[in-house]
C-alpha cells in the first residue's frame, strides 16, 4: 500500500507504540473512575498520579503543580481567563504571534474591561523587547508569550521575558505545546508562573494536556463540577489518555538530545535543498525548533504546492492546522512584516521522530520536479 510521508508533526504526531501499550489496559480492564473508592477506582487514581509524576519530571516541576485538562487549547484558556477572573480588569500582554487559543481568550477579556496589548515581533519573529518593557511598565498584570511558534518554530527567550515580568509583578505564562519533546523545557529554569503542555504533539494521544502552574497563582476554574484537579478542572479524569501523556513525556525526555540532533541534521539537509531552489525560509536567522521549516517560493501559491505535494505523497501544511480551513494568510508571517502575497505562498514542513534522511532526500527531488513543472505551466499561461 502507498503510505504518504508525514511531514506535519506540528499539527499532530503519530502515537508511539509504547504509549499505546501503556494506554490500552485503561480502556478495557482497568477502567475505573479515578474518584471511585473501590479497587477499580483506586487503580485508576494510582495511574493518574503516576502520570502526573512523569509529566512533572519531564519539565522539572512538582507533581502537585500539574493540572490535567483536555487539550492545549483548554489549558491556555484556563490560564488566560482563569487568571483574569481572579483579579480586577487591568492590562494583559501577549505576543502578536500567539496561537489563537491564547489570542482569542485574551480578546474576550477586552469585553470585560481589560486592556490588551499585542506585542509586535521583528522580521525574524522575535519579540520586540523595547515594546515589551514598555507594556510591562504600563503596568501589565498578565503576560503570555509562547516558547516556540507553531508555524515558524522560532523560539522566544522566555527566561529573560519571565524574569522581567516577575520584576514588574506580572504573571507570566508560556504556551510550550510545540516545544515539549523537541527542546529542553524546564519549568524552574524558564522562571514562568505557568506553562501549557499537550500530549499529542509529542507522540502521545489527543485528548490530554496540562497546565503546569505555580501554586501561588490564583486561578478561577473554567469548568466547574466535581472538583477534580484541585478544583481547577472538574470532570472525570481521562485516565487512558493521561496515562499515555505521562508515558509520552517519559519517552520524549529520555530521547530528547538524540532526537533533537537527528531532527536538526535532517532539517539542515532540507533547508539547504530548499535554498538551492530559491526558497525563503522564515525566521532562519532566529533560534528555532529543530524540526520546523516554514518557507515560500516566489510566485508560487502555498495551497497549490501543498495540494501537489499531497498528490506526490508528502503530507505538509500551508499553515496551522486549526486555521487551515480559512484562506487567510498566516498571522505569524504578517506580524513578521511579510507581504500578504508571499505569506500566502508559505508551506510548513514539520519533521518528527519517524522521519528519515531518505524521506527528506526524496522530498527534495520531488519538490524540485514539481517546481520545474509549475514554473513551466506558469510560463505557458503567460
Amino acid at each position: 500500500m502507498f503510505a504518504p510521508v508525514y511531514f506535519d508533526h506540528n499539527a499532530t504526531t503519530p502515537l508511539d507504540p509504547r504509549v499505546l501499550e501503556a494506554m490500552l489496559p485503561y480502556l478495557t480492564q482497568r477502567f475505573g473512575n479515578a474518584s471511585s473508592r473501590h479497587e477499580y477506582g483506586r487503580a485508576a487514581r494510582r495511574a493518574v498520579d503516576e502520570a502526573r509524576q512523569q509529566v512533572a519530571a519531564a519539565v522539572g516541576a512538582h507533581a502537585t503543580e500539574v493540572v490535567f485538562c483536555s487539550g492545549g487549547s483548554e489549558a491556555n484558556n484556563l490560564f488566560v481567563k482563569g487568571a483574569a477572573a481572579s483579579m480586577r480588569p487591568a492590562t494583559i500582554a501577549i505576543s502578536a504571534i500567539e496561537h489563537p487559543c491564547v489570542r482569542e481568550p485574551a480578546r474576550q477579556l477586552v469585553r470585560e474591561g481589560w486592556r490588551l496589548h499585542e506585542i509586535p515581533v521583528d522580521a525574524e519573529g522575535r519579540l520586540d523587547m523595547a515594546e515589551y518593557a514598555q507594556v510591562l511598565a504600563s503596568p501589565a498584570k498578565i503576560v503570555s508569550v509562547m516558547l516556540a511558534n507553531n508555524e515558524t518554530g522560532v523560539l522566544q527567550y522566555v527566561p529573560a521575558l519571565a524574569a522581567r515580568a516577575r520584576g514588574a509583578r506580572a504573571w507570566f505564562h508560556s504556551d510550550a505545546v510545540q516545544a515539549l519533546g523537541k527542546i529542553k523545557v524546564d519549568f524552574r529554569a524558564l522562571g514562568v508562573h505557568a506553562l501549557t503542555l499537550s500530549a499529542h504533539k509529542l507522540n502521545g494521544p489527543q485528548g490530554a494536556a496540562a497546565l503546569v502552574i505555580d501554586k501561588r497563582i490564583e486561578l478561577r476554574p473554567l469548568i466547574a463540577g466535581g472538583g477534580q484537579e484541585r478544583g481547577l478542572r472538574s470532570g472525570t479524569e481521562n485516565v487512558a489518555a493521561i496515562v499515555g501523556f505521562g508515558r509520552a513525556c517519559e519517552l520524549a525526555a529520555a530521547a530528547l538530545d538524540a532526537n533533537a540532533s537527528r531532527l536538526n541534521s535532517m532539517r539542515r539537509t532540507l533547508e539547504r535543498g530548499l535554498s538551492n531552489l530559491g526558497a525563503r525560509v522564515f525566521g532562519a536567522a532566529a533560534e528555532r525548533l529543530p524540526n520546523t521549516t516554514l518557507f515560500s517560493l516566489e510566485g508560487m501559491d502555498g495551497e497549490t504546492l501543498v495540494a501537489q505535494l499531497d498528490r506526490a505523497g508528502f503530507a505538509v501544511a500551508s499553515g496551522a492546522a486549526c486555521s487551515s480551513a480559512s484562506p487567510e494568510p498566516s498571522h505569524t508571517l504578517l506580524a513578521m512584516g511579510v507581504a500578504t502575497e508571499i505569506a500566502r505562498g508559505a508551506v510548513r514542513i514539520s519533521l518528527g521522530r519517524g522521519n528519515t534522511g531518505d524521506e527528506v532526500e526524496r522530498f527534495l527531488r520531488t519538490f524540485a520536479d514539481l517546481v520545474q513543472h509549475l514554473k513551466r505551466m506558469t510560463a505557458m499561461a503567460v
Binding site: L27, E39, I223, A224, G225, A321
Partner: protein, 403 residues
C-alpha cells in the same frame, strides 16, 4: 467463574466495550491525523471519521448531526450549555432554575453564575426523587432564562418528566437544558419530539472512552450560546481545541451499539436488577431510595437501616459499589440527593448504590445477594442500635449523651 471485585458501579463509569476499543485503535496508530488538517489525507481521513461518529451520536437521540458539538465530557457540556446560554440570554433576564438533586457539574456551574450576578432557584424534589411540576411552574418568573433538569439521576436512577418540563419551558420561551449523561442507552431519547434545547452527553457512561462528550444544540428553533473555550474556531466556534479523533470514534461506536442493542440489553438488566431488588427486599429495614416505576433498569439504591454505609461497603468489598456519586465519594457527607428526598441522615448514611451493566452476570447478582445477607446479619449483630430497635425501643425518643 466469578472475578473479584464484582463491578456494580456502572453509573460511575463503564468499561470500554471491546468492539469500541477495536474501532478506536486504528485512530491511535496509522490513522493519527488532525481532523483540522485540510492539506493531506491524514487530516481528511480523521475528519471523515469524526463526522461518521457525529452522525452515530445524533442517531441515538434522533437529532441532526449538525446539532452535535464535541466536548471533553458531560461536565464540560453542562458548563458550556448553562454558562453559554445564561450569558447569551442575560439581556432577557438573570433568573435560572434547577433541582437540588442535580449532578455537581450543574450545581457548581449554577453557583458560579450566582457569583456573576445571576439569581438561581434550586427546587426541592418529591419523596420519590421526581420534580414537582407545580413547584416548577411557580418558580418560573418573567426573567427566567434557563431551566436545567437532568434526565436520569446518577444516584437513584429516577427519570424526570422531560416531556412535561419541555412543554412548560417552550410555552414560556425559556431555554431548557437536560443533562443526559446517565440516560443514553437506558431510555429512548427523541429530540424531534422532546422540547429540549440543549442536552449533555458523556461517552464513558455508555461503554465509550473517558474524555469525550457532546452537547446537543437545537437548530430549530435555534438556541444560541456563548462559547466558553476560544481559539482555532473548531465546532463552529462553539468549542475550540484539536478534536481527539480516537475518542470521538469511540463515542460514535458506543452510541451506535447502544442504539442497536439497548432494547434487549435493558430487558436483561432489568431482570437482574429485579432479582437483586427481590433479594434485598427480604432483608429487614431495607428501604429503596427513589421511585421504582420512573427509573432506569440499571439502578438500585437501598438504605440498610442501623448499618453504617461505609462499614457495609468495606464488609462487602468483593463487590465494587458506591455510597453515592463517584464525584463526591471523597467526602464523608451523606448524599445530598438522598437528603433532598427527605431521608434522615442515618438512612442517607446507610445507602448503597448498585448499578448494573452490560457485563454483569446473574451469577454475580446471586453472589451479591448472598453476601449482603451474610454481612448485614453480622454487622447488625454488632450494632447496639439494632439491638435496641429489636427490643422495641423507639430510637427517636432516646436522649443521647453528648461526648
Amino acid at each position: 467463574m466469578l472475578k473479584f471485585p464484582i463491578y456494580l458501579d456502572y453509573s460511575a463509569t463503564t468499561p470500554v466495550d471491546p468492539r469500541v476499543a477495536q474501532k478506536m485503535i486504528p485512530f491511535l496508530t496509522e490513522k493519527f491525523g488532525n481532523p483540522a488538517s485540510r492539506s493531506h489525507a491524514f487530516g481528511w481521513e480523521a475528519e471523515a471519521a469524526v463526522e461518521e461518529a457525529r452522525a452515530d451520536v445524533a442517531a441515538l437521540v434522533n437529532a441532526d448531526p449538525k446539532e452535535i458539538i464535541w466536548t471533553s465530557g458531560a461536565t464540560e457540556s453542562n458548563n458550556l450549555a448553562i454558562k453559554g446560554a445564561a450569558h447569551f440570554y442575560s439581556g432577557k433576564g438573570k433568573h435560572i432554575v434547577t433541582l437540588k438533586t442535580e449532578h455537581k457539574a450543574v450545581l457548581d456551574t449554577f453557583r458560579e453564575l450566582e457569583r456573576q450576578g445571576f439569581e438561581a432557584t434550586y427546587l426541592e424534589v418529591k419523596d420519590d426523587g421526581l420534580v414537582d411540576m407545580d413547584q416548577l411552574r411557580q418558580a418560573i418568573r418573567k426573567d427566567t432564562v434557563l431551566v436545567s433538569v437532568m434526565y436520569v439521576n446518577n444516584e437513584i436512577g429516577v427519570i424526570q418528566p422531560i416531556v412535561e418540563i419541555g412543554e412548560l419551558c417552550r410555552s414560556k420561551g425559556i431555554v431548557f437544558h437536560v443533562d443526559a449523561a446517565q440516560a443514553t442507552g437506558k431510555v429512548v431519547i427523541d429530540l424531534q419530539t422532546l422540547k429540549v434545547d440543549l442536552m449533555s452527553f458523556s461517552a464513558h457512561k455508555t461503554y465509550g472512552p473517558k474524555g469525550i462528550g457532546a452537547l446537543y444544540v437545537r437548530r430549530k428553533p435555534r438556541v444560541r450560546l456563548e462559547a466558553q473555550m476560544h481559539g482555532g474556531g473548531h465546532e463552529r466556534g462553539l468549542r475550540s481545541g484539536t478534536l481527539a479523533t480516537h475518542q470521538i470514534v469511540g463515542m460514535g461506536e458506543a452510541f451506535r451499539i447502544a442504539r442497536e442493542e439497548m432494547a434487549a440489553e435493558n430487558e436483561r438488566i432489568r431482570y437482574l436488577r429485579d432479582k437483586l431488588l427481590k433479594g434485598v427486599s427480604d432483608i429487614e429495614e431495607s428501604h429503596v431510595n427513589g421511585d421504582l416505576d420512573h427509573r432506569v433498569p440499571h439502578n438500585l439504591n437501598v438504605s440498610f437501616n442501623f448499618v453504617e454505609g461505609e462499614s457495609l461497603i468495606m464488609a462487602i468489598k468483593d463487590v465494587a459499589v458506591s455510597s453515592g456519586s463517584a464525584c463526591t465519594s471523597a467526602s464523608l457527607e451523606p448524599s445530598y440527593v438522598l437528603r433532598a428526598l427527605g431521608r434522615s441522615d442515618e438512612l442517607a448514611h446507610s445507602s448503597i448504590r448498585f448499578t448494573i451493566g452490560r457485563f454483569t452476570t446473574e451469577e454475580e447478582i446471586d453472589y451479591t445477594i448472598d453476601l449482603l445477607h451474610r454481612k448485614l446479619t453480622k454487622l447488625r449483630e454488632l450494632s447496639p442500635l439494632w439491638e435496641m430497635y429489636k427490643e422495641g425501643v423507639d430510637l427517636n425518643t432516646v436522649q443521647w449523651a453528648a461526648h
